[in-house]
Amino acid sequence: MKRSKTTSPRPQGRAQGRALALLSLPVFAFLVIPTAIVVPVALNDSRYITFPPEGVSLAAVQGFFEDHAWTTALSASLQAAAIAVVLGVLLGATAAIGLHGRKFPGQPAVVGLILAPMIVPTVVLALAFYQFFISVGMVGSIIPIGLAHAVIATPYVYLTTRASLAGLNPALVRSAQSLGAGALSILRHVYLPVILPGLVSGALFAFSVSIDETVMSLFMQSPSATTLPVKMFTDIQFNLTPKIAVSSAVLVTVATVGLLLQVIYVLRRRSTARMLPLAV
């Protein structure tokens, strides 16, 4: 009978863990408080933005959802995000699959091109998109904003999909081929199950990138295409109402829900994997 010695270092590990938690706490607070502060401000019982709040009321929240200008902006943001997610997932995922396991001259350049929107200053992109969409006569609707958002969302989907493809056994593709599978069947039965987690988190990234994007949306705004951040930015200059705080809280809530969904998804996948009894 072998007796393992792994029990002795555990108290020390626990103490280390505690110290780490203690150290992490202020950092965590520093990161979260500025975001969380909008919630009490939004629930403030006041006609102006004040802190600390003077009383709790849902008046501002109600006002936000009854104000046509604000709900239109929210709807515009969601439309742009929808375009960005759908296009970003299609482009990012197909690029990742297409480039997976392939080496050809100029491949780094292709990858660089896909990732470029993450690096190029947004204001430069905004100007370029603005000029482009003006010249093709597309400004004035939410579509060009959605398309521009898709461009900056694509690299995120590409990266998350590429990361999940790293776990793909290349022999799976070959075995599917030898069993008679064509390209579409391989996509569905081999690639999709492997990249699904990457696609989900990529889509969430794409969504939050689009919802949050201000500079490009500002350049391409029009009365019929004003996203939530743009509306907040223009209002804050001459119309300082708690509705701005409410819209911030809405954005924070949307982002948090998205993140939670992802966490739940990951945990569920893990637990189903663990629930399956392993073979001896």
Partner: protein, 373 residues
């Protein structure tokens, strides 16, 4: 089983046109300047179990991948059932392939894995389920169809892979080092099982391995490859007993190689100068004055009571290792390190003894081999 396939018709090409044959004609594969496979000619007859045996980098896996269609050959032609398949993608070649780590689809259970090929062939659900269950039954996995690959042991996974590659009645089976991931005992068991299955189905198999024991145990014919070329091809016993070169002799089993020069020839017998080991006689061809190597398998090297005049010499014991059934002795004699293997049950108890020993071999057990390097 195979006899019915190879009909009485003996015209050339008739045998290769039969179902299950694989033929490579002058197949060559280059990557840039590197020649991976060079002008390879190979025929797997219907029902035959042919093993490509060689060290890594010998081109054996590349050869198999070209048959399967995953690698494109630079020149030459591959024929299956007598028909060229060079232009066909892997999925139209109708070959069952078992990969090194089985490559089972992790998100499908065993039965769904086996059904996959039938599903791709648009076979109705009820029929494919029935055929998949039957295939699983045949490899001894009846009732385990609902398990995911990670819930199965290595041996079970391999059986699923076998069932999956056989369920659609492929023309032939390609096995790429399928036993590499299994432990020794299970490996030997699976070797027998695959061999039995292959015989009962009468299916042609092209098998790739670097494991010489596996090749010996399973093959109808071994094709020894080195540097992209076939060095020797024949039934396992023949390749083992009569290797063509010193390299084949040392690759297929252990052997003692003693460099020598042919001094003279008497009919079918050659007298050779073994350097420090004196004079030897071998029943073999050979050109007078040329350099060769004499190969003596460790089991053919024997202790002698006195110093032999020829075919042997006197040396000192370096080490003795008891391997259970056999004992391996290392002896230096005449400037050569020799290996002698004897059955433990027949051991004369020299194991511990250091000092002078006499060893020798029978002329019939020595082979004169071409030096290859």
């Amino acid at each position: 089983m195979t006899t019915s396939v190879i009909s009485a018709d003996t015209t050339p090409g008739a045998a290769t046109a039969a179902r299950g044959s694989i033929e490579l004609r002058q197949v060559r594969k280059t990557y840039g300047d590197v020649v991976a496979v060079d002008e390879l000619d190979l025929v797997v007859q219907p029902g035959e179990f042919v093993t490509l045996l060689g060290p890594s980098g010998s081109g054996k896996t590349t050869t198999m991948m070209m048959v399967a269609g995953f690698e494109e050959h630079t020149s030459g032609s591959v024929l299956i059932d007598g028909k060229p398949v060079d232009a066909l993608p892997p999925r139209e070649r109708n070959l069952g392939v078992v990969f090194q780590n089985y490559a089972l689809f992790p998100h499908m259970n065993a039965r769904e894995n086996v059904e996959f090929a039938l599903r791709m062939r648009k076979i109705p659900r009820a029929e494919r389920r029935e055929r998949a269950e039957a295939a699983l039954e045949r490899v001894g996995l009846g009732g385990l169809g609902g398990r995911r690959p990670r819930q199965l042991s290595g041996g079970q996974q391999q059986r699923v892979a076998l069932a999956r590659s056989l369920v659609f009645n492929p023309a032939a089976l390609l096995l790429d080092e399928p036993m590499a991931a299994l432990d020794k005992r299970l490996r030997e068991h699976m070797q027998e099982e695959i061999k039995t299955l292959q015989k009962s189905l009468g299916i042609s198999v092209l098998f790739v391995t670097h494991d010489q024991d596996e090749a010996m145990a399973m093959s109808d014919r071994i094709v020894v490859m080195k540097d992209g070329r076939i060095v020797q091809s024949g039934p396992p016993e023949e390749v083992y007993a009569h290797p063509l070169t010193d390299w084949v002799a040392s690759f297929l089993g252990d052997t003692n190689l003693v460099p020598c020069t042919v001094l003279e020839r008497h009919g079918s017998e050659a007298v050779v100068d073994l350097g420090g080991l004196g004079i030897g006689r071998v029943q073999d061809r050979g050109v007078v004055g040329e350099r060769y190597a004499v190969s003596i398998r460790p089991e053919h090297l024997k202790f002698r009571p006195g110093a032999p005049e020829e075919n042997g010499g006197t040396g000192t014991m370096v080490s003795s290792t008891n391997l259970g059934a056999t004992i391996r002795h290392r002896i230096t004699a005449g400037g050569h390190e020799l290996q002698l293997r004897e059955l433990s049950s027949e051991s004369t108890g020299r194991s511990g003894a250091a000092g002078e020993v006499h060893v020798g071999w029978d002329a019939a057990n020595a082979q004169l081999l071409v030096l290859e390097g």
